[in-house]
């Protein structure tokens, strides 16, 4: 990962804003989808696809690429936006999201779109798959050639499969694996602490022998710093609890669980895009 300069931080913030615009446009166009989590992770995806990941959008199956597993697959509009802006596929194609014959499935499909590491949507399974990939990086001739990242939602920490995976990764001291929890406090039926309290989340992972870093998920610099720090921890896997605001950037959506799985109308989208004004200096 190259050093972060001030201009780069500004660039990544602008990219995040563009990705949010893309998300709103995709959802308004399809009339369905999940905006809250997608908008909340714009900085994280900007940081990954435009700074952190070792990848080549023209060669999505490059064996040495870093692996990014999106476990909470319903937030895929932000993944598609980041991938298209990074050059994996034409930006025009974003309009096909959730439509028939599209490569941009409602939940990501590995077989449909090159560059998708794994099909996801059913929650709680991404961490295990990321572990499988990280184990292979350890045992094959690709040793240390790639790192594996897994993005999860906070709500999917309800799933038992995650804790099976957490126990295993702690046991194997999988330091080439970094997980990220999008801690936005919402889920389908309400807030996470109402539905099934997760706190103390940090202590849970620490007790499973993980290193836990907590940061502001909307601060590109602190997120990238945390990922760098994780790379320097050799004795255990690291999890970054990224505190975010669901629906970030669109006032009427922010921190409201009702926007978990409801797309904005065309009118609402217009209003949202006004807020997410395109900056003049935008490079992409």
């Amino acid at each position: 990962m190259e050093n972060l300069r001030e201009e780069k931080i500004k660039f990544l913030e602008e990219v995040a804003n563009q990705l949010r615009r893309d998300v709103i446009e995709m959802l308004a166009e399809s009339g369905t989808g999940h905006p809250a989590g997608a908008l909340g992770m714009a900085e994280i995806f900007s940081a990954f696809y435009f700074h952190i990941l070792k990848h080549n959008p023209k060669k999505p199956d490059w064996p040495e690429r870093d692996r990014l597993v999106l476990s909470n697959g319903h937030t895929c509009p932000i993944l598609y936006a980041a991938m298209s802006r990074a050059g994996y596929f034409p930006i025009e194609e974003l309009k096909t999201f959730r439509k028939i014959n599209s490569r941009l499935q409602g939940h990501p499909s590995r077989k449909a779109l090159p560059g998708i590491e794994t099909s996801s949507g059913p929650l709680g399974e991404g961490l295990s798959q990321a572990i499988g990939m990280a184990l292979c990086a350890r045992t094959s001739n690709l040793r240390s050639k790639y790192r594996t990242y897994c993005i999860m939602s906070d709500a999917e920490q309800n799933c038992g499969n995650i804790w099976e995976a957490a126990m295993f990764a702690g046991n194997k001291r999988l330091s080439n694996l970094t997980a990220i929890i999008d801690r936005n406090n919402i889920q389908s039926d309400g807030t996470t602490e109402e539905i099934m309290p997760l706190e103390p989340l940090k202590e849970k992972y620490e007790s499973f022998n993980w290193e836990v870093l907590e940061i502001d998920g909307h601060n590109v610099e602190s997120f990238i710093d945390a990922v760098s720090e994780a790379q320097a921890i050799y004795e255990k896997p690291t999890i970054i609890i990224a505190r975010t605001i669901a629906g970030k950037g669109v006032d009427f959506m922010e921190a409201d669980y009702k926007w978990h799985g409801t797309a904005p109308t065309k009118e609402q989208a217009k209003e949202a895009l006004k807020e997410l004004k395109k900056e003049k200096s935008s490079i992409i």
Partner: protein, 331 residues
């Protein structure tokens, strides 16, 4: 004798004192062969390495064995990640838990991803015996054959299980291999052909065959005994070893149904959704013929000696003979 000579079935052993080995043993032997041959083969188990016979692989290739603990969902999904990272992972667990407990992980992360994972489903059927209904998978064929990308193989003895294990690595994508705990007769030999997706004739009566019996798994031995007894009674049959439930050897099965006009299917599995259903779906469309189904009815098993269970649940030679006679009458 009417056993197909070209198949080199072990005729000398086809007696009361026939050697018995569980199919899980064949699986374990197959893994050992693969361990030597292919460094990409890895094995994962859910705290059942010994009883699913992958302990020998684990001891010989410790760096390629992964103990997951009692966590079948994690087992399937970790293997999925490895299967898309150039490894050939085998997951070895009891079928009631894998695919029983982790079906959704198998569906999404293995089948939908078309990840190159081989799923060994152990302790299937009433052959599990004393452990009782909780540990006797009678629905696994039905579950697995409905998953797109999934292939389903049911070996009839330990030798075929070894061949199936090795052959599964030549198939790109997920494969389910159904295995059993109890020792059962070894009636094929190393020379008996085994090609996934190809059903083989194991018996043709000296009397003109009037019914085709299609079986899979260790119960195929009972099918052969039934065929021999029927032959003595003057009822001719032809027996197909249909080890691959998916993809089916469609052409051969349709041809045989056309030629002989009545079909009996035999499996140690529920008659809902298993081998019999697969054959019925095929024939209903292409060549409707009277069919009888030998298998467990819509019931769970229970504790007991496997032989007593087969008797109680209608899986004995006598049951197969009765089914053949019924099918014959309906012609």
């Amino acid at each position: 004798m009417a056993f197909e000579k070209s198949l080199k079935i072990n005729l000398n052993n086809f007696k009361k004192e026939i050697k018995e080995i569980p199919t899980r043993e064949g699986f374990g032997n197959g893994l050992l062969v693969l361990g030597e041959k292919n460094s990409n083969v890895v094995v994962l188990s859910a705290d059942v390495a010994q009883s699913t016979r992958c302990d020998k692989f684990a001891n010989k290739f410790p760096e390629r064995f992964f103990q997951i603990g009692i966590a079948e969902q994690n087992l399937a999904a970790i293997a999925s990640g490895m299967g898309v990272s150039n490894k050939i992972p085998f997951i070895s667990a009891y079928s009631v838990f894998s695919p029983g407990r982790n079906l959704e992980q198998i569906r999404t992360t293995i089948a939908y991803n078309n990840s190159n994972v081989k799923i060994a489903g152990h302790h299937t059927g009433l052959l599990t015996g004393y452990d009782g209904a909780t540990h006797q998978a009678l629905e696994d064929i039905a579950i697995m054959r409905t998953l797109p990308n999934m292939k389903v193989i049911v070996p009839c003895d330990a030798i075929e299980a070894e061949k199936a294990t090795i052959a599964s690595t030549k198939i790109s994508g997920p494969v389910y291999i159904r295995l059993a705990r109890e020792k059962t007769p070894v009636f094929t030999s190393k020379k008996t052909p085994f090609i996934p997706g190809k059903a083989d004739v194991f018996w043709k009566s000296s009397a003109k065959p009037k019914v085709v019996i299609i079986g899979c798994g260790p119960i195929l031995y009972n099918v052969l005994l039934a065929a021999e007894e029927l032959d003595k009674e003057g009822i001719g049959t032809i027996v197909l070893n249909n080890h691959t439930i998916k993809p089916l050897d469609e052409k051969k099965i349709i041809n045989f149904a056309k030629k002989y006009g009545a079909v009996v299917t035999v499996e140690e599995h529920s008659i809902l959704g298993g081998l019999g259903s697969a054959i019925a779906e095929l024939l209903a469309k292409n060549c409707p013929a009277p069919m009888e189904f030998v298998g467990t009815k819509d019931v769970f098993g229970e504790s007991g000696h496997p032989k007593d269970l087969w008797k109680k649940y209608g899986l004995e030679t006598e049951n197969i003979k009765t089914a053949v006679k019924k099918a014959l009458k309906r012609k």
